[in-house]
Symmetry: C2
């Protein structure tokens, strides 16, 4: 059931770094993005794939991890992602990508979860630095980064209280994510 | 397999209007959006659900159908969507929704496809008119509309030639959608 996959697809931030992800698997997830809807059917999004240590470290160094966990700078060596996808806009194709980025990333992450992995979307990226580190040509604009790996953290969904949507981590390192209730998402007009 | 669902999830524009969609089913798809990732976990997107004839007609009248099919004004009576979701930003929660809209809509559409239905995302919407017709309070901004129904058209994926991404419809009313190849989506740096 798609519901099981969607519920299992949490934003994971700690991984078993010793579990590698192959280029073939990463490509199979980009292929899921390829089959997903695109505004005007323009398909202007492209991907840089990374599974090797050196490239992974470069990408890692440009990411902002978990804004609400003030005392945490991101996963320690050994718990870092095994792979990354850098999602780019190819400005030679289009200047607008509408909501293609989210559609594509949901497809990618559901593919990863089905294969026993998980990920996290990053929009807080030092883009000039990442552009420089990966030598990304000027034609491409960085939109998002997806970190991927074998999750080792427990993520629990909680009922949101008083509109406070900040996630938190408890003493046992369990990550808690408050969600609005279904009724709160439906506007009865 | 998630791949099968994603490949089956085409943008359908003609439906068997006699097949109804229940409010419960529509709510179950919004629940899939509820469990999907949200930037800063703010969850600022809300939904108006429509399954009744009068409301459906109002929403239909505000949508721009298939820009590339110049001689087609949209589906005829009998082939129109059975239900709609109007996706809104609740500006009382946030002024930015990042890529939440695409993530949520992919979850919703995969749920619909799994249940034997299909849909189409609209961003060409007469928003002032729709706001007026549905009496949407000022606090909410229309982001997207998802049309939903029992698809009756055949959609075929084609290999894209010479970068021409326009979809087309043939004499047999089959809808053809050119897609870029996987290699074209991967930037080897």
């Amino acid at each position: 059931m798609i519901r099981d996959l969607i519920v299992k697809n949490r934003s994971y931030r700690r991984y078993d770094q010793s579990v590698e992800i192959s280029m073939e698997l990463l490509e199979s997830w980009v292929d899921l993005a390829r089959y997903s809807a695109s505004g005007r059917n323009a398909q202007p999004l492209k991907y840089i794939l990374s599974v090797d240590r050196e490239k992974n470290e470069k990408i890692f160094s440009t990411l902002g991890w978990a804004a609400y966990l003030k005392e945490w700078d991101g996963p320690a060596e050994g718990e870092r992602p095994s792979a990354y996808l850098v999602q780019l806009l190819d400005t030679a194709i289009a200047t607008n990508f509408y909501c293609d980025d989210g559609i594509a990333m949901q497809s990618i992450l559901l593919g990863a979860v089905e294969a026993g992995f998980g990920g996290c979307i990053f929009r807080t990226i030092n883009k000039p630095r990442l552009t420089e580190l990966l030598n990304i040509p000027e034609q491409y604009q960085i939109i998002n980064v997806i970190a991927l790996g074998k999750p080792i953290e427990k993520v629990v969904i909680e009922e949101m209280c008083d509109g406070d949507f900040k996630y938190w981590r408890d003493n046992q390192e369990v990550h808690h994510v408050p969600k609005r209730m279904l009724d709160d998402l439906i506007l009865k007009l």
